[in-house]
């Protein structure tokens, strides 16, 4: 488990096949072309409890696919001090390791004919084992998934391999192979100093180095319990399958270690800046601060409208995207979030099942050429300040509200995502899509402005910048002088040039003692 981003790399896209080729092979039934399929059960959603475990079943009788999600309210927030990475490593050894009956090689052998993968996705308070399989193969796939959770082998070779992979991820890939992800992880550490959310979910170099196989076994025994668990099944599964699948987990302990208490995140004085120094063509920038609300809070929904207006992920709707990229060509993309969002930059829709009890506001500026990095940062602050001080424009409110009313439907297109959102609804006590559908028609601009005033601010926040011009950047930040944009393109409209003059001197609450430079090679060490 390396956090949503690295785990959710697209899985095999192999294709081909000739149904007539081998009689020993069952041809898959036609995917939902409209009328096919044994169609057990009724469409809809049911939530319940089996032996203390919460369950979510979302039948889609027409679907040839079945999605399984086994969720645990366990994550890196449970890592003991000095063993950072233990939760993730434990789930890795489970989900990418052997079982009592089979070595890992035998697990892979058994999975192969099913053309399905067991994926483990984790975050600070979530670990989900999930996979989607053709209904022809659901029984065999369910056996393998259940085995990995109920009877992990915890073999030395699995532990050694997965711990080394985690160490390599933190010390090689994160430090040296993706500046955007490095910036986001650096920001997260800054948002939560001394807090269970602080370190990267995959762990730190020091923490991973200290973990033993015995630690993994003990962590498993103490945390993978029914009270922290939700079993989800969706799609075209056979009658009785979902209930039977959930019942298999009754052998897990009824209760485990309590979830850690979360302190209130510490507020910084002014802006806290970390410059991660490394070779880079352009500067990846992330800024943000903790919020006091989640989906469970009514204010989350008007704040979602403000977020979408400011920077809907991977669309051309947001102010940040249009003003910084569209008008000025500063970079490739600029987005805003009111929930944690670390996943592949090219992916569009937020992954389900990464719930948090505490969330944060974040702006992500994709890499900007060094000469314009501080201008871009000031631009992001400028447009956010406009939103806070002037409120959302009436037209922007109406178009964003209408957009979200329809767009939210796209978040649950396939059986796995539908199941994931249904599980999230159980966790938060509110179904994100249903809440938006219910609230948006009644929402007013005043609701959004009030939520923005209450929850967004620019007095204290954190900024992480990945740059190879760290000393220059630090000096510029401390001096606080205007940082005019440098255009190497012609024909910038006069109105933009006028606005540039405001942005270049946008005030940043930065003082010398709050700007740090850390070489990438030292990040996530402890």
């Amino acid at each position: 488990m390396r956090g949503a981003k690295t785990i959710l790399v697209v899985t095999a896209l192999a294709w081909g096949a000739g149904a007539a080729r081998a009689e020993t092979v069952n041809a898959p039934a036609a995917p939902a072309a409209g009328k096919a399929g044994p169609a057990p059960g009724k469409a809809g959603k049911t939530t319940g409890k089996v032996k203390g475990m919460r369950t979510v079943f979302v039948p889609s009788p027409m679907s040839p696919l079945v999605a399984l999600r086994v969720f645990f309210h366990v994550g890196s927030a449970d890592d003991p001090a000095g063993k950072e990475g233990l939760a993730a490593l434990t789930s890795d050894v489970m989900g990418q390791g052997g079982t009592r009956k089979r070595t890992y090689a035998e697990v892979l052998d058994a999975l192969y004919p099913l053309a399905a993968k067991i994926q483990v996705i984790g975050d600070v308070e979530s670990i989900v084992f999930e996979g989607t399989v053709h209904r022809d193969n659901v029984a065999a796939f369910a056996d393998l998934l259940a085995e990995q959770i109920l009877e992990p082998r915890f073999a030395d070779e699995d532990f050694t391999r997965q711990r080394q992979n985690a160490l390599d991820y933190v010390t090689k890939s994160l430090r040296g192979n993706d500046d955007e992800e490095l910036g986001k992880h650096a920001l997260r550490d800054m948002l939560y100093p001394g807090h269970p959310y602080a370190h990267p979910t995959p762990g730190t170099a020091g923490g991973l180095g200290a973990i033993t196989l015995d630690d993994v076994k003990k962590f498993y025994a103490a945390h993978f319990s029914r009270d922290r668990m939700i079993v989800g099944v969706a799609g075209g599964y056979p009658e009785g399958f979902a209930e039977a699948f959930a019942a298999r987990f009754a052998t897990l302990p009824a209760t485990g270690a309590p979830m850690p208490k979360l302190p209130k995140p510490k507020a910084h004085q002014g802006a806290d800046v970390l410059i991660v120094e490394k070779e880079a063509r352009a500067d990846a920038i992330s800024l943000g601060y903790p919020l006091s609300i989640t989906r469970a809070d009514p204010d989350f929904y008007p704040l979602t409208v403000a977020r979408s207006y400011l920077g809907e992920h991977r669309t051309f709707n947001g102010v940040l995207m249009n003003r910084l990229r569209g008008d000025r060509g500063l970079n490739y993309g600029d987005y805003a979030y009111v929930e944690n969002f670390i996943q592949d930059g090219w992916s569009t829709f937020p992954h389900p099942n990464v719930p948090r009890r505490q969330q944060h506001f974040e702006i992500w500026l994709r890499p900007v050429p060094p000469a314009n990095a501080l201008f871009a940062l000031r631009g992001a602050v400028h447009y956010t300040r406009q939103l806070i001080e002037k409120g959302i424009p009436e037209e922007g409110f109406e178009s964003t509200r209408r957009f979200l009313l329809n767009y939210a439907d796209l978040w649950t297109q396939d059986v796995s995502r539908r199941l994931g959102y249904a599980i999230d609804a159980v966790i938060y006590g509110k179904d994100l899509v249903a809440e938006l559908k219910a609230r948006l028609p009644k929402m007013t601009k005043a609701d959004v402005d009030r939520a923005v005033k209450k929850h967004l601010q620019l007095d204290h926040f954190s900024v992480a910048i990945v740059s190879d011009k760290a000393a220059d950047l630090k000096a510029q930040l401390i001096e606080g002088k205007p940082t005019p944009i440098t255009y190497d393109t012609a024909g910038t409209p006069a109105a933009i040039l006028e606005e540039d003059k405001l942005i270049e001197k946008e005030a940043l609450p930065i003082s010398a003692q709050n700007v740090r430079v850390v070489p990438a090679a030292q990040m996530f060490e402890k």
């Binding site: 785990i7 899985t11 081909g16 000739g18 080729r21 004919p113 192979n177 992916s347 050429p369 393109t489």
Partner: protein, 484 residues
């Protein structure tokens, strides 16, 4: 042969780096390739066929095949081909405009990356719908809309409620015929593309794939990746005039195919398309893509990396272009599974038993012209790079010598069948799969035609292709490790 971007194992933290977001999924590190071992030059691209085509309409309603959905097809008088795919997605429709032009068509020197850049420009407006107005229309629909470019295609896609279809057809037909942007907008967008390059530059794979194709190809345009050479990207702001020529050349009805997938009424779709695209004219002949000569000797490149990274090995072997008649292609797909699947002996040895490799993958991605079978391994220690390289070659040689048994072949075929079915999980995903085949051949029935080739793959074929293509003289090897 996989019609998509290369797919890397979850262990490769930054696998899909080049899959471009927002404006594009350009810069696919996927393979280009040449006629190499095929020993004959790659077929040149056909010049544009511009004569009008009589209107034809056919209905194919087949089920139980690899692509099992009812399909309606129509070719309009101006050569525009459109497909309606009936998919059970109540209330939803995916609308794909597939331009059969990608970085493969960047034949002029200094223009690498232009197909992808132009894809960005397609969002810059027309007289009727400015950029803002176009975005507003999509926003009102609550649509998911984007585009991407690869070596062989540029795809524009919209997913929205079915009631939005008339408006979607209107705005898409408008920009495909009447795109109009200012020079300042053009220059600003060129810098967004540079931003996209910069974004990928922190991942070693971008550098490795650039080196692989640059070395493996001599004359074919697969020599450059879809994002293009940096020097060409930096010069893009000066290419305004060329951009109009590019639009005039490639954004023509006989070079575009429409896919309407989901909850769609065919008669309504045909009427909307006829009305909106009927006035679109065919254009001038399009340039021929230069063929690639056979590779005569092994090529290698050793790259350094400033900063932390796992050492990596990337190998490409030239393989044939896409075809629905050449059984070598599905045989190579089978070989990829046999040698590089996670259950394969090679994975067991290197990843599970010896633990010298974090991840390894191999695939033969589908392309219009001959391209590469690519192999990528993330190795734990630089000193092991030669060992891993040698072990991979030895395993390919073993298959060439020993072949494969019938049972294993049947298991592989079952696997690919179920894996393909899983790709058709939504209307949008189905449209995306269809777009790849349309780009390769112009026709949607290429899917089932290609799949029927699997019926013909024998154990002897697998053994034969292993011997035929995986020779040292047909190989380009790129290694990368952190600077010491």
């Amino acid at each position: 042969m996989r019609p998509f971007l290369n797919v890397l194992s979850p262990g490769a933290a930054l696998a899909c780096l080049l899959a471009l977001p927002a404006g594009a999924r350009a810069a696919t590190p996927a393979a280009p390739a040449t006629a190499g071992a095929a020993a004959k030059p790659a077929p040149a691209s056909a010049p544009a066929k511009t004569p009008s085509v009589p209107s034809q309409e056919t209905t194919m309603k087949k089920s139980g095949e690899a692509f099992p959905f009812p399909v309606d097809e129509k070719v309009f008088p101006n050569g525009l081909r459109a497909y309606v795919v009936h998919y059970d997605s109540p209330g939803l429709v995916a609308y794909y405009s597939v331009v059969r032009t990608g970085s493969r068509n960047e034949v002029e020197p200094g223009k690498s990356g232009f197909a992808h850049f132009f894809e960005h420009m397609m969002f810059r407006g027309t007289d009727k719908y400015s950029q803002e107005a176009y975005n507003d229309v999509l926003k009102q629909m609550g649509a998911d809309s984007n585009a991407y470019t690869s070596e062989d295609l540029t795809v524009y896609h919209i997913l929205a409620g079915k009631t939005a279809l008339p408006r979607i057809v209107e705005i898409e037909a408008d920009r495909f015929q009447h795109l109009k942007y200012s020079e300042p907008d053009f220059e600003k967008e060129a810098r967004a593309v540079l931003g996209e390059y910069n974004k990928g530059a922190s991942n070693p794979l971008q550098k490795m794939f650039e080196a692989l194709y640059d070395n493996a190809f001599v004359s074919h345009t697969y020599k450059h990746t879809t994002i293009g050479f940096l020097k060409d990207i930096e010069a893009m702001p000066q290419q305004f005039a060329y951009s109009r020529q590019f639009f005039d050349r490639y954004y023509r009805p006989d070079n575009v195919t429409l896919l309407v997938v989901g909850d769609v009424d065919t008669a309504e779709a045909w009427k909307l398309i006829e009305d909106a695209y009927g006035g679109w004219k065919v254009g001038p002949p399009r340039p021929v893509v230069p063929p690639e000569p056979a590779q005569a000797k092994e090529k290698t490149a050793a790259l350094g990396w400033k900063g932390a990274t796992l050492p990596q090995l990337l190998v490409g072997y030239h393989t044939p272009g896409f075809s629905t008649t050449n059984v070598d292609l599905p045989a190579l797909d089978v070989l990829a599974e046999l040698v590089f699947a996670e259950r394969a002996p090679l994975y067991r040895k290197l990843v599970i038993t010896e633990q010298k490799v974090e991840s390894i993958s191999g695939s033969n991605d589908a392309h219009v012209d001959p391209n590469l079978f690519t192999i990528l391994a993330r190795v734990k220690k630089a000193d092991d790079l030669p060992y891993v390289e040698k072990t991979v070659s030895a395993e390919l040689a073993r298959v060439a010598h020993d072949g494969v048994d019938e049972k294993t072949l049947a298991e592989v075929l079952s696997h690919v069948k179920y894996a393909f079915a899983a790709q058709l999980a939504t209307a949008d995903k189905t449209a995306n799969v269809a777009a790849q085949f349309v780009a390769l051949t112009g026709r949607l029935d290429a899917i089932n035609a290609y799949f029927s080739l699997y019926d013909k793959v024998t154990t002897a074929d697998v053994k034969r292709v292993a011997a035929k293509y995986f020779q040292a003289t047909n190989r380009t090897t790129v290694t990368l490790q952190a600077d010491r």
